[in-house]
């Protein structure tokens, strides 16, 4: 026996502390100290294994060396392989569920404002759609189609182990604005219930785990600085009549009075409300290293400032983050502290201008020196001197005279301690706190055109709000990990989780106060979620893998008898590539078959006390006069004592593969997800309750789909590298049980019209329309629809289902090409079979609109195709307006150049990027990608150019 010494360093020459050095085949070992030194007693011929998370393991045979110094190479491949799966991590190879990870090096590049954008188009079955083209705006993520009719459809976001509250806080555009995308190390998407069931009731729509970048044990601190400059260009605007076209129309169809209202100007109102170019900049800085020798840390700050293309729109965000990962007692105690804060300032340009710019008379000027409203042209009723009550407000005035600001502060922090009780048992306690706090105010100038009469309240208005949301978390769990006889590995987790959500909203309205009404409103609620969970993973020789989990959740939203839900999962996988019969074949690197079943519950989005009989008192605008007094009234609220968990069950089978030396890799998944006891706000016999609708468990829904993903490393040489990635998913969503149909999808034009329907046997939100009749030239005939049930009258019974807003097929295609210091990446998507309802055209393209209400209103150019005279319910609900909105879109193209080290370890990278480069579609509206499918007053997505610089030193 000899004692051998040595030092472990990284490729950057820095010492690496904490490296495990084990004598192969024994349980003897040691770890390197802070300076990377180690010493170990070893026998001749024994093999030393050096391993450390994030680095390639090395094996060195002891043959009597005096000193063994080791340089460890970073292993990005291995880094990717470790996935965060909820109350633990697992190697990709050991997983049994449908889980995908995208790490920072594969993130989408370019003008990324929010975390969701990092993975747009990257993962099969994950659809990310931005709500609009406004900076910082929300993103809708759906994983494998809609899971619920009226409850939350968004996945659960877990940031460093804290499930965050993704109910939007007032004034905030996106719950993930808390996190600077630059701070994210990886995003892991848990798609099937066998993977998500450990999160139980919160995970009905999948889980997105966000892992932030952490400090490293490197001796030297490293700094990273990035700068970005963005320019957003307006693309299309709504196709409306020009001033001269409009003038012709009014001259042809108007009465002398109406013709007399024409102005002499030629104003392109859309031109007026959008800027050609909106600029922005971004600055990020981070430092990571090991402080005081025992405290790996990372600190970051970020600043983003982005104007929107709607004039005056602005999003400014400051973020700061600190991660500390100290270890104590010879690494027996590992502590992680994350503190993450953001401060966001929003200036919301008045979006009413988007709609009014479409319909405002183009022959009128912006300014009118006779106008009593700040010199802005307005449709004034000469009898009252006020704006006509049905007239739209001058779009420029509504942008300039309304000031809408908000500030959102949010802090998410958690402290996690992992303590090794024994060699095999680890105890973890995680305490988290998430608070967001927002303030906002809307100030309407006293110059703002209004139909309030002179002498009324024409003195402007001010509304304010402040909201606070708190989410407190306490998790405690034990992890047992052991290997028996080299081949049986068992990992088991058991724990407890408690979460409390509190909401406190306040708002104020100056106009109400001036009228003597209650002007301050308070809205408060809270709910509690309490859970026990357990999971066991069994691994036989890395060939056969079994996972079982069970979570018991209790929510304060449900009555005590139905409060507890139990959500189990089972899954298994077979690593065929590890079988001995595969030994002879080196074709496959990975060939894994997976199958699993799991259940998850959902009450997210449900009201907090629906099972209790509550009385709501009236506000001062809804009191009732008795005698000479006005009495506050008490209304019993509709209630449902029988509410229970909405439960989704998924069966998933999948195959992971990699072959030709990992050149080709990917996965295939097929799933059926059944959601039962679907909660919907639905009809109840009002003789039995205090209203006609309650939240009730009423129906079932099914999602079926297939996902396929493939990555191909086409070229991988010293100078060249070329990767191609492609994914495709097919999803079919059907309501399988729904006793009463539900009209949904409110549209503008008339009052109370709904274009969509939930019906058994159909996709949710299917369009429910009349069938338009066309003449021999293919022009729609006004007011003529097909009598589909042949009963001689056209009424509601002749409506039918035509298509739905959801794509049948979604594809993502991305490629990275690099040559020496150059790199080029392209990200694109295809969506097939998604249909949109063009509400802008349907509500604005009938002739009478031009002259009605004693004003003039511009028409959508679709009028030239239809010649429709009047708006009717049936005209609005005609299938003429349902259009195929399939599209191909190049989301992003980025070209970058990496400078070789200028001095020391300093690295520079310069890149340029274009977002939203190209969209190919047959859809007539301004953008085919409309979340929910109803295209109305859509804030156009701009094309964005970015120039960026990263410095790593």
């Amino acid at each position: 026996q000899d004692t051998v010494k040595g030092t472990v360093i990284g490729e950057d020459s820095g010492a690496i502390p904490g490296v495990n050095i084990i004598i192969k085949g024994t349980d003897k070992g040691t770890t390197s100290d802070f300076d990377g030194h180690y010493a170990i007693v070893v026998e001749q011929g024994q093999v030393l294994v050096y391993s450390y998370l994030g680095f390639k393991s090395q094996e060195i045979t002891y043959v009597g060396q005096n000193e063994i110094n080791v340089t460890m190479g970073e292993d990005t491949a291995i880094l990717e392989e470790v996935l965060v799966i909820g109350y633990g991590t697992a190697k990709k190879e050991d997983l049994t569920g449908a889980v995908d990870m995208v790490s920072s090096k594969d993130f989408n590049k370019g003008p990324i404002n929010s975390a969701q954008e990092l993975i747009t188009g990257k993962i099969a079955g994950v659809n990310v759609t931005s709500a609009s083209g406004s900076p910082g705006d929300g993103q809708t993520i759906t994983i494998r189609g809609l899971g619920s009719l009226s409850l939350e459809n968004q996945p659960l976001y877990v940031i460093d182990g804290i499930p965050i509250d993704n109910g939007g806080v007032g004034g905030s555009r996106n719950p993930l604005n808390i996190i600077n995308p630059n701070d994210i190390e990886s995003m892991t998407v848990l798609k099937d219930a066998s993977a998500t069931a450990i999160y139980g009731s919160r995970a009905a729509n999948g889980v997105i785990q966000i892992t932030t970048k952490k400090g490293k044990d490197t001796k030297e601190f490293r700094y990273d600085v990035s700068l970005k400059r963005t320019v957003r260009n307006r693309l299309e605007t709504v196709d409306v009549m020009s001033a001269s076209e409009f003038k012709n129309l009014v001259n042809n169809v108007g009465t002398p009075d109406q013709i007399g209202r024409l102005g002499d100007s030629s104003t392109d109102w859309q031109e007026q409300i959008y800027t050609e170019q909106a600029t922005g900049e971004e600055f990020n800085m981070s430092a990571l290293g090991n402080a005081f020798g025992f405290m790996p840390m990372r600190a970051s700050i970020g600043y983003t400032n982005q104007d929107g293309i709607l004039r005056g729109d602005n999003f400014t965000r400051y973020t700061g983050g600190l991660n500390l990962t100290p270890r104590f007692f010879d690494d027996q105690l590992k502590v992680t502290l994350n503190v993450r804060g953001s401060y966001v300032e929003n200036i919301f340009a008045n979006r009413d201008a988007i709609g009014s710019a479409v319909s405002f008379d183009p022959t009128q000027p912006i300014y009118d020196s006779n106008s009593p409203f700040g010199g802005y042209f307005a449709w004034i009723d000469p009898q009252t001197g006020a704006q006509r009550s049905l007239a739209p407000t001058n779009p420029v005035a509504s942008l300039n005279l309304v000031d809408d600001h908000s500030e959102v502060r949010r802090i998410i922090t958690n402290l996690q301690a992992d303590y090794d009780l024994t060699e095999h048992i680890k105890a973890t306690v995680n305490v988290g706190y998430d608070e967001s706090n927002s303030n906002g105010r809307t100030i309407t100038s006293d110059q703002m055109p209004t139909d309030d009469q002179v002498g009324g309240l024409r003195n402007g208005a001010r509304t304010t709000f402040s909201q606070t949301q708190k989410n407190k978390l306490f998790d405690a769990y034990l992890t047992y990990e052991n290997t028996f006889n080299d081949v049986h590995s068992l990992t088991a987790v058991a724990g407890y989780s408690y979460q409390k959500f509190e909401y406190d909203n306040y708002s104020y309205d100056s106009e109400k106060e001036e009228q003597g009404n209650t002007a301050e409103f308070i809205d408060r609620s809270k709910n509690v979620l309490l859970s026990y969970f357990g999971r066991a993973n069994y691994n036989y020789d890395s060939r056969y893998l079994l996972t079982a989990s069970l979570r018991a959740d209790a929510s304060s939203k449900l009555n005590p008898d139905d409060r507890w839900g139990y959500f189990p999962s089972f899954s298994a996988a077979w690593n065929i590539h590890n079988e001995s019969f595969m030994d002879g074949s080196d074709f496959f690197n990975v060939l894994k078959l997976r199958g699993g079943y799991g259940q998850v519950g959902n009450v997210n989005g449900l009201g907090d006390y629906n099972f209790l009989t509550r009385y709501t008192s009236s506000q001062s605008t809804a009191n009732y006069q008795i005698g000479n007094s006005f009495y506050q009234t008490y209304r019993p609220e509709p209630y449902n004592e029988d509410l229970k968990w909405e439960v989704g069950s998924t069966i998933n089978v999948g195959l992971d593969y990699a072959f030709l030396d990992d050149k080709v890799s990917g996965s295939i998944n097929a799933y059926i997800k059944k959601t039962e006891d679907l909660i919907a706000f639905t009809l109840v016999d009002p003789f039995t309750n205090f209203g006609n609708k309650i939240d009730k468990n009423i129906g079932d829904m099914e999602n079926k789909g297939i996902e396929f993903a493939i990555n191909y490393k086409a070229i991988d040489t010293d100078d060249w590298s070329w990767n191609l990635g492609y994914n495709v998913s097919f999803n079919d969503n059907e309501i399988t049980n729904l006793p009463d149909e539900q009209n949904v999808g409110g549209i503008s034009g008339g009052t109370g019209n709904n274009i969509q329907l939930h019906r058994e046997g159909e996709t949710p939100y299917s369009y429910y329309v009349y069938e338009q009749v066309y003449d021999s030239n293919g022009r729609p005939i006004e007011g003529v629809y097909v009598d589909r049930n042949n009963d001689g009258v056209i009424n509601d019974d002749d409506r039918y289902i035509k298509e739905n807003p959801y794509a049948d097929v979604l594809m993502g295609f991305n490629t990275n090409l690099s040559y020496k210091n150059w790199d080029l990446s392209v990200q694109s998507r295809v969506s097939l079979g998604n249909y949109a309802y063009n509400n802008v055209a349907s509500a604005n393209s009938y002739e009478r609109k031009a002259t009605e209400n004693q004003i003039l209103s511009n028409l959508h150019s679709d009028y030239f195709n239809t010649g429709f005279k009047n708006i009717t319910q049936r005209g609005l609900l005609s299938d003429y307006h349902i259009q195929d909105a399939s599209f191909f879109r190049i989301d992003n193209v980025t070209l970058g150049y990496n400078f070789n080290s200028v001095s020391g370890n300093t690295q520079f990278r310069v890149y340029g990027s274009v977002q939203n480069l190209l969209t190919v579609t047959d859809y007539d509206g301004i953008d085919p990608e409309i979340s929910g499918g109803i295209d109305n007053n859509f804030y156009p997505r701009p094309r964005t150019f970015v120039l960026g610089l990263n410095v790593d030193l």
Binding site: R524, S556, Q619, N795
Partner: protein, 610 residues
């Protein structure tokens, strides 16, 4: 920590049953809701926390829906809006999923549930004041059931809150329940006039019984005209009286009933049951806010109605307008003898061809004719000959002068005054002698060609948001209206008495004539239009009800009672969706049970025909 799962509301607007029914003064807030749920639409006002879901909140207000179901389906009203299901109402073609027929059912059923819950909770208080609340709650429940029975016929009868799906009762069972309840609470309600404004007293129970009995034959096939007379008499003999205070001094005390201060200007003496509105504290997009706004459009000046703008929806048909106007032949017959003078021209019925349209001699050298003019010109001439003729302009006659250009078209009265060589051409609708004929005709046509055009059909100016002094209501923005809405007022009971008497109810015929003349004297400002017992027949009473009570939510029921609602005995413009009107199937006398409810509650059977 498990205890933490038992959370209770922490919102300051949320209260528990124990708090609401802690004592009489708290319970009064719950009673106020029972009244408010017929006037308002939710707890926020004008919109935001609706009572009824799935329909535009403003649409879901009780009296607005009553207007839609009982007036819009008749000759009295037509609307130009194209909201889902709305045009089908006047067209008598609603489907069993019609938004308005559904929402009214929900509103009334909810009122039943509210009252059931109130009654069972309030009974536990065992308090004298609360006992009167309970009687009022029972009245409101009976009122809800009266309407359910009238509109839908067979509905579930529930008297307590239970999640068990109720069985459907027959129309007769509902009728009997309403009757029994009203008879039972009659003595528990306050004495006539002894309650606070806005709360009902026992006269309301009698009045609703009068209405119930009058329609008994129509509802359940059993005539109860004697009872109708009995309970009408009780009402007539009560402390309520017909308003005769002409507070704004415009010559009639009728319009005061529908002004912003009708709770104080004298009109309140006539109101037996009202829905109270206030522009500041009781805001809704239904109620009188709807009645005033929706009727204003075209060239009407919103300020004259105390509002900031019209919604340009509701008008009326010529069938109703003509209830105030005799035929031209009748009118001409009352002028005097046929004269030698006549009118000729392309604006007159015979054009420029002979013979002239003869005028009648009203007094020496003054000639008149009631006729129909179209756009064009005319001249006056004598003996169908050009030897003596007048043209003219601006009301002045010029011998052999230029053709007179006709500016006022439609039904007009033309006066030729040879004493001072002047002429007038006046629309007969401009100043009808009956003050109840409140029409706006400028820019409006009597004839309706396009239902969706506001200018087609006369506008109705009955409801206003200005007070007797001409000042607008309390909401200075002009959005919400103060005017209260009488749901039952004494004039109706007068007419109930007259009709029940004529239908053999044993009333006094000459008293019936007097009661009607009391209404007509108010309408005309004098006794010039009083009737005699010879004039009084059933059709006259129906027409008089129409003139007196239009747009107050009674017309459909009246027409059904007279077999004129669906039949071809009486056609009005766009009845059945056809311009000249057609009959509709008899089953349209009842509205359908909401179709979706049939799947929720299998105990329900749909009304025949749907």
């Amino acid at each position: 920590c498990h205890d933490d799962l038992n959370q209770t509301p922490i919102d300051p607007d949320s209260t528990t049953e124990e708090d609401v029914f802690a004592n009489a003064s708290q319970a009064k807030g719950a009673l106020a809701k029972l009244y408010a749920s017929l006037a308002l639409t939710g707890q926020q006002g004008p919109a935001g926390q609706p009572d009824i879901s799935g329909i535009d909140e403003g649409f879901s207000q009780f009296s607005r829906m009553l207007f839609n179901l009982n007036e819009l389906t008749t000759d009295q009203a037509i609307v130009g809006w194209g909201d889902p299901g709305l045009p089908d109402l006047h067209g008598l073609s609603w489907s069993s999923g019609n938004d308005f027929t559904e929402a009214m059912y929900y509103r009334l059923a909810q009122e039943v549930s509210f009252t059931n819950s109130f009654i069972s909770n309030a009974e536990l208080l065992a308090d004298e004041e609360v006992n009167q609340f309970i009687a009022e709650a029972r009245f409101l429940r009976a009122f809800a059931y009266y309407n359910l029975m009238d509109l839908y016929g067979n509905v579930p009868l529930t008297t307590e809150i239970s999640t068990e799906l109720p069985q459907q009762a027959s129309r007769e069972e509902i009728f009997n329940f309403v009757e029994e309840e009203l008879l039972e609470i009659e003595d528990q309600l306050a004495d006539s006039g002894a309650n606070e404004y806005g709360r009902v007293d026992r006269v309301a129970a009698w009045a609703l019984l009068s209405r119930l009995y009058l329609n008994a034959e129509s509802f359940i096939g059993t005539p109860r005209y004697n009872d109708a007379v009995t309970y009408s008499e009780k009402v007539i003999n009560s402390s309520y009286s017909i308003n005769t205070t002409d507070a704004n001094g415009n010559g009639s005390a009728y319009d005061e009933l529908f002004l912003a201060d009708n709770n104080t200007n004298g009109a309140q003496k006539e109101f037996i049951f009202t829905l109270n509105f206030d522009g500041i504290q009781s805001q809704t997009f239904g109620g009188t806010t709807f009645l005033v706004h929706a009727a204003v459009g075209g060239t009407m000046n919103p300020a004259e109605f105390g509002i900031n703008g019209g919604w340009a929806g509701n008008r009326t048909t010529k069938s109703f307008v003509n209830k105030f106007v005799k035929t031209n032949a009748e009118l001409n017959a009352s002028i005097g003898p046929v004269s030698d003078w006549g009118i000729i021209g392309n604006s007159t019925p015979n054009g420029w061809a002979d013979p002239d349209t003869d005028m009648y001699e009203a007094s020496p050298n003054v000639f008149k004719i009631f006729t129909e003019l179209t756009e064009g010109e005319l001249k006056f001439r004598k003996n169908d000959d050009w030897s003596v003729s007048f043209g003219g302009e601006n009301g002045n006659l010029i011998p052999d002068g230029d053709n007179i250009i006709v500016e006022t078209t439609g039904r007009v009265v033309i006066t030729l005054n040879l004493n001072n060589n002047t002429y007038t051409i006046q629309s007969i609708y401009e100043s009808l002698p009956d003050a109840r004929a409140m029409f706006y005709t400028d820019g409006q046509t009597l004839e309706i060609n396009d239902v969706s055009t506001f200018e087609d059909g006369f506008a109705v100016t009955k409801f206003r948001n200005i007070d007797s002094n001409g000042n607008p209501g309390s909401d200075s923005t002009g959005d919400f209206v103060d005017t209260d809405l009488p749901v039952i007022r004494l004039a109706e009971i007068y007419l109930n008495y007259a009709e029940a008497t004529l239908r053999g109810g044993g009333g006094n015929a000459s008293r019936a004539v007097n009661l009607i003349n009391e209404l007509r004297e108010r309408a005309y400002g004098n006794n010039s239009a009083n009737i005699t017992s010879g004039d009084l027949d059933l059709q006259f009473v129906l027409d008089e009800r129409s003139r007196e009570l239009y747009w107050e939510g009674l017309r459909r029921t009246d027409l059904i009672r007279y077999e004129q609602f669906t039949t071809n005995q009486y056609l009005w413009p766009f009845k059945g969706g056809v311009k000249d009107g057609v009959s509709a199937p008899t089953y349209r006398r009842l509205f359908p049970i909401p179709n979706d409810l049939l799947t929720i509650n299998p105990n329900l059977t749909q009304n025949d025909g749907y």
